[in-house]
């Protein structure tokens, strides 16, 4: 066992795959000489060389386009968006090429796009977004969002080995804030599998990313009042582990859908529709969403604090639902 931070776990996973498979290479802005804006690829250039650690021009569509080309030719590119917010520059490449190659031409695109997402670091509107829903909405893509160091390492490895384009949204707030002991022996976390981070019987909190930790914190506080939360960490948004979600809601009969992403068009709406459609007669209370409001992410620290869903929000809504 060794103790690593969330960012170190991503680095370790990436490195292990690059050692295992010569076709794996990374590309992105400042990933080589600089070692990555967040130091994810620190030391990679000297270890793997220029051919496998490529500093690109400042053009996300070029990064993704080149990566798609390399993937079609049999390589395993791991493209980095310096901040997930910039992924919108590569929107066309991702949605009209990467997502549709297999469907249209029978040619798979084994590509991974990494995107540091989320707020809480005073990054402002262009460096704090959670852009996953544009891509959840596009068939042909897989989307993952680890919340722990363990899941981060296991999922980057699974993403790299996957035959299809995987968008890997790592949460920048968690980079150095969480430290875990990880097994030294190799392991994978399967894509498409949710994880019960805390088992409970009163209310299911279904969430992903940094919000998992808010939910767990809230659970500790609420346990003292006899309210027992079950925290379901989705880990993968597409393909969704629908069975685990429904199983949890059928057990507790009440659900809170929590994400840092904005409200309208956020994943909570999709989850609420699925639960209402497939578990209607198991519900003993309304489906409650806790999300950011429909605004850009504020830069001003007190405003950003207000914007982001907090542990106290989870506690407040859980108390309401418990009494409902």
């Amino acid at each position: 066992m060794s103790t690593v931070t969330y960012v170190e776990a991503i680095r370790d996973g990436l490195r292990e795959e690059m050692l295992r498979d010569q076709n794996v290479f990374v590309l992105g802005e400042d990933v080589g000489v600089y070692g990555g804006a967040f130091k994810v690829t620190e030391g990679f250039l000297s270890e793997f060389g220029e051919q496998r650690v490529v500093d690109t021009p400042l053009s996300e569509s070029a990064i993704v386009g080149a990566a798609i080309g390399a993937a079609l030719m049999g390589m395993k590119p791991v493209a980095e968006m310096q901040f997930a917010d910039f992924i919108s520059c590569a929107f066309d490449q991702i949605t009209n090429f990467a997502a549709k190659c297999r469907y249209r031409w029978g040619a798979g695109v084994p590509l991974v796009i990494r995107g540091p997402s989320g707020g809480g670091i005073h990054g402002g509107p262009f460096h704090s977004q959670n852009p996953e829903m544009y891509f959840v909405h596009t068939p042909g893509l897989k989307i993952v969002a680890p919340s722990t160091a363990y899941d981060a390492k296991g999922l980057i490895k699974s993403a790299i080995r996957d035959e299809d384009p995987v968008l890997y949204f790592e949460h920048k707030f968690l980079y150095r804030r969480i430290k875990e002991e990880l097994p030294t022996k190799e392991y994978l976390v399967p894509i498409g599998s949710a994880d019960i981070k805390r088992s409970g019987k009163d209310i299911s909190v279904i969430t992903y990313g940094a919000m998992v930790h808010n939910a767990l914190e809230a659970a500790e506080v609420l346990a003292q009042d006899g309210i027992d939360l079950e925290v379901v960490d989705l880990r993968t948004l597409v393909p969704l582990d629908k069975e685990k979600v429904l199983q949890s809601v059928k057990k507790t009969n009440k659900a809170i859908l929590l994400h840092e992403d904005v409200r309208t068009g956020g994943f909570a709406g999709e989850l609420a529709a699925i639960i209402a459609e497939e578990a209607f007669e198991y519900l003993d209370g309304p489906l409650m969403r806790i999300t950011a409001p429909d605004t850009p992410v504020p830069f001003s620290p007190p405003l950003e604090k207000f914007f982001l869903p907090k542990t106290s929000d989870v506690i407040r809504v859980a108390r309401y639902l418990a009494a409902y």
């Binding site: 009969n253 209607f280 007669e281 198991y282 519900l283 003993d284 209370g285 407040r316 809504v317 108390r319 309401y320 009494a323 409902y324």
Partner: protein
């Protein structure tokens, strides 16, 4: 002035009753002594008359509810004005409230109390009327916890008074899948009582059954001969029952151990011969008792057996009339059964089962004759009675029936 209607005590050892049917609805006029509701207890089902005349103002318990004796189950208003009690408001949640509009789509006490899809499904599956469930959720909503409490209380009531059935069921837990087309109906109080008694009796006594064949031709002859005159004289149809009761009563005098009871390590030889007759009802069965059967003539027995059977079917028995039996006769022969293996009616030690009386070819003096024959089966408690005694009793009973005289008296 208002008059409380209470759950009456139907016998010394009865402490609760189950309301099986309300005969009036709130708002209806009732007359004093008019039947108001029907109840079921361990011993007897009965109609309960209204204690006063007036308007039935409220019913506090529903059909199927079991309440302790002397509980007020309804109130009759005889016209005088009454003070209206203000309903207590439900306590507000002391925790931080979220201002969410709770649209009330139905109040407690109306046809549609607020609940949830889950609660509605559970209510449907378990056959619960949501109007009977207390809601502890916001705005008086019936929550999952509320309906689960209601269910476990309902089970507790069943469990407390029917421990033997529950025990036996636990020994044989084979879960049965309920499909959506299947119908779930809760057992009535009478059904549960019967179940409890049967399981208990089987567990307590060592049941053995012996079967004898009896030539009923003499009895049949007399019955046919006397039937018309009997009907004209008494106004009742003469059945085979009084013949069996008289024969059994006489035989019990010879074999007092068949008329006994076991209490701990003692044998209680009962002085009185009180014969219970099993009467089939649409919803179950009941066993009214003919007291001092040995002291009654056949004619008297004919009257008392007819009367008691009628009143049993009309639910007009007194609690005393279903207690105190020392021997029981059951007659599934009227349904066509040839012979059976009945379960002893505790605390007795034997029960006689009378089969159908059919004409059959039998051998008499090496010739074939057509006789009216019946199988009589006796289940006896082998803790007290051995085979030779039981067979002795049956031999004697057979003789008594076969050698019936020419008269009925």
């Amino acid at each position: 002035m208002s008059c409380d209607v209470i759950m009456p005590q139907m016998g010394e050892s009865i402490f609760e009753g189950t309301i099986t049917k309300w005969l009036k609805v709130p708002g209806e006029k009732v007359k004093r002594d008019e039947p108001l509701f029907e109840i079921s207890t361990d011993k007897v089902d009965s109609e309960i008359p209204a204690p006063a005349s007036g308007i039935l103002r409220e019913i506090r318990f529903q059909e199927g509810d079991t309440v302790e004796i002397n509980t007020v189950v309804a109130v009759i208003d005889d016209g005088e004005p009454q003070q209206i009690k203000l309903e207590e408001k439900k306590p507000q949640s002391t925790k931080e409230n979220i201002t969410i509009n709770l649209k009330s789509s139905g109040d407690q006490g109306t046809k549609n109390p607020r609940s949830s899809p889950l609660v509605k499904r559970l209510a449907k599956e378990e056959g619960i009327d949501l109007n009977e469930v207390e809601g502890s959720g916001l705005g008086g909503r019936i929550t999952k916890a509320d309906i689960m409490n209601y269910l476990s209380e309902r089970e507790n009531i069943a469990q407390i008074t029917r421990p033997l059935v529950q025990q036996a069921q636990q020994k044989m837990e084979i879960p049965t899948r309920v499909l959506s087309e299947d119908k779930i109906v809760p057992m009535s109080a009478m059904r549960l009582n019967i179940a409890e008694h049967m399981v208990g009796s089987k567990g307590a006594a060592a049941h053995v059954t012996t079967v004898f064949e009896v030539d009923m031709t003499s009895v049949v002859k007399i019955k046919i001969k006397e039937a018309n005159e009997f009907y004209h004289r008494e106004g009742i149809k003469l059945s085979f029952t009084p013949f069996f009761v008289k024969a059994v009563a006489n035989t019990l005098i010879e074999y007092p151990v068949m008329n006994a009871s076991i209490k701990g390590n003692d044998i209680i030889y009962k002085k009185d011969i009180n014969i219970g007759l099993a009467v089939a009802l649409t919803e179950g069965l009941i066993v009214p008792v003919i007291f001092h059967a040995n002291q009654q003539s056949l004619r008297e027995l004919a009257r008392s057996t007819a009367d008691i059977a009628n009143r049993a079917r009309e639910k007009k028995l007194n609690p005393q009339e279903v207690q105190g039996g020392t021997f029981t006769i059951t007659n599934p022969g009227i349904f066509g059964s040839l012979f059976g293996t009945p379960i002893i009616n505790q605390p007795q030690v034997a029960i006689l089962c009378v089969g159908a009386i059919n004409k059959r070819p039998v051998v008499i003096n090496d010739a074939i004759a057509i006789r009216s024959m019946a199988y009589l089966s006796l289940t006896f408690d082998h803790r007290l009675i051995d085979g030779s005694i039981a067979d002795g009793f049956m031999s004697s009973l057979k003789k008594n029936l076969e050698l019936w005289g020419n008269e009925i008296n």
